[in-house]
């Protein structure tokens, strides 16, 4: 009798628990349903979408591509846009990436803003020109032990128009080491005159989701998706002498810019300081020599931090910033262009300022 009573009690409690779980599940579905929300863009375009997702992912789904290098995790600070109405309070996750003026101007990180009601937003007109491209991996070339050049032939659309210095976001699909699609940003290294080609120079990041995919899984013939072009790194229209400083995969935008300079028969005086750890880690040196022949005022200065005794290196040694300091006495009339790791860029800015270069004439792309 006691056993039967206990059994009944267990069954009743289980039934109540199951009922509560069902109520919670149903409530979750309805409470998270924000219904249709209207997004007004630049007071012109209107989108009606289902609420609940981040503004970044909603815009991406509508083929409006906002720059983002972290896959919407709020860690790169690139996906800024103005939300004029409806965004709610600024989140602690956004604050580190926004200065006082941006906060006053209603700038937000679109990956952190959830679409829960109607929004009015403002984005740069040039972002409407950003498209998604399908491409085929046409070539993979080893440049050093941890840097490869990936050549992609565009298939749909078959052509892209960009200013040299821009970057694209390459989609890494779901694979063994990532359970979701992620985008990562890489500077374009190709000749902009070759409108169906995108070359990317990628350095393997230990543990990196996208670089691991590119180095270990991507094969010639595979189809990929990318979107772009993005970025503000480009040459100015002046005739000022230029000092370029780069290291590692920071080589990429300068290759594209050099193609453009060759195509336009540029006469601008340019010295390109490129740092590598060992002689064997210098790459595209033959191409740089050819650019020196094609461009009368272009000089390539490779610097090797630690040349091995057997490498017979007679060129510049030490850090790239030390070579710049040794070779330039006064940079006050120059423009500086930098691409590489954040640490290298910060160090290069210090050196260029010390050599008299005004900080507002230093342009950089902090993508490694």
């Amino acid at each position: 009798m006691i056993v039967l009573t206990l059994l009944k009690a267990v069954l009743v409690i289980s039934a109540i628990a199951a009922g509560l779980a069902a109520v919670l599940a149903v409530a979750d579905v309805f409470l998270r349903d924000y219904g249709p929300c209207k997004i007004t863009i630049n007071n012109e375009k209107e989108l009606t979408i289902k609420g609940g997702d981040s503004l970044l992912s909603v815009l991406t789904a509508e083929k409006i591509f906002i720059p983002s290098a972290c896959g919407g995790r709020g860690t790169c600070g690139l996906c800024k846009l103005k939300v004029l109405e409806g965004a709610g309070s600024l989140l602690p996750t956004e604050e580190p990436y926004l200065d006082k003026k941006e906060i006053a101007d209603n700038v937000r990180l679109s990956c952190q803003v959830k679409v829960r009601n109607d929004l009015k937003i403002q984005i740069l007109e040039e972002l409407f020109a950003i498209r998604e491209y399908k491409a085929r991996c046409a070539e993979i070339k080893d440049l050093t032990h941890d840097i490869k050049l990936f050549r992609f032939e565009l298939t749909d659309p078959a052509e892209i128009k960009y200013t040299p210095g821009k970057y694209v976001q390459l989609l890494t699909p779901v694979y063994e080491k990532s359970s979701e699609e992620v985008y990562r940003a890489y500077s374009v290294a190709s000749d902009p005159a070759q409108k169906n080609i995108i070359d990317l120079i990628i350095r393997l990041v230990p543990g990196g989701i996208c670089t691991t995919y590119c180095f270990e899984y991507l094969k010639v013939g595979d189809e990929v998706k990318m979107n772009g072009p993005y970025g503000e790194f480009r040459l100015t229209d002046t005739d000022a002498e230029m000092v370029w400083i780069a290291g590692g995969s920071g080589m990429a935008p300068f290759v594209s810019i050099l193609h453009e300079m060759k195509n336009s028969n540029s006469q601008r005086k340019t010295t390109y300081y490129f740092g590598a750890n060992r002689v064997e880690e210098l790459f595209l040196t033959e191409q740089m020599k050819q650019f020196e022949k094609d461009l009368p005022n272009f000089k390539f200065v490779p610097i090797v931090a630690q040349p091995g005794e057997s490498e017979n290196w007679n060129g510049e040694t030490g850090l790239v910033t030390q070579a710049v300091e040794r070779n330039i006495k006064n940079a006050s009339d120059c423009e500086g262009y930098l691409c590489g790791s954040p640490g290298m860029i910060d160090a290069a800015i210090v050196v260029l300022k010390k050599l008299g270069l005004n900080e507002n004439k230093i342009y950089y792309d902090k993508f490694a």
Binding site: C70, G248, S341
Partner: protein, 150 residues
């Protein structure tokens, strides 16, 4: 032992792609408490504390930063190099603070053996005794790191 709601939520975050596309737990099916307990026991067996390990990792990262992406000699048998990418990553624990996406590679120049650790790894070990789950790309094996650091 029953997990508190906060611990359950944290573990859920660590297994998800909310902060890192691959998460922090890898293929490890053990609970967060089990992972931390096992690693703490291993670290104690090796004669160190997580804070001593993290402090030495930080010293190496700080020295490697000055080489701007090149290898730098740490001592007679080890060199280190920094790889950086754009952006910062927050700690998945519920407190303020985010960390440069910087990976330090420490190499034993005599054997060629290498270990990698990020700025976030240093924080996770120092403040949360967390070396990440097995199979995570940024898992730091206590035995391996101790052998390389000291």
């Amino acid at each position: 032992m029953k997990k508190s709601p906060d611990t359950q939520k944290l573990e859920q975050i660590l297994r998800s792609s909310a902060f890192s596309a691959a998460g922090f737990m890898g293929t490890d099916t053990r609970s967060l408490a089990e992972i931390i307990d096992a690693d703490m026991a291993e670290v104690a067996r090796l004669g160190y504390t997580p804070q001593q390990i993290a402090q030495r990792m930080q010293q190496i990262t700080d020295k490697a930063k000055s080489a701007l992406g090149n290898w730098i000699k740490i001592n007679d048998t080890h060199s280190a190099m920094i790889t950086e990418v754009k952006g910062r990553i927050p700690c998945p624990w519920p407190h303020a603070g985010n960390y440069a996406k910087r990976v330090t590679t420490l190499q034993d120049t005599q054997t060629g053996r290498k270990v990698h650790f990020s700025d976030l790894n240093i924080h996770l070990i120092a403040e949360h005794n967390f070396f990440e789950g097995r199979g995570s790309a940024f898992r730091v094996e206590p035995k391996q790191i101790v052998e390389m650091l000291f």
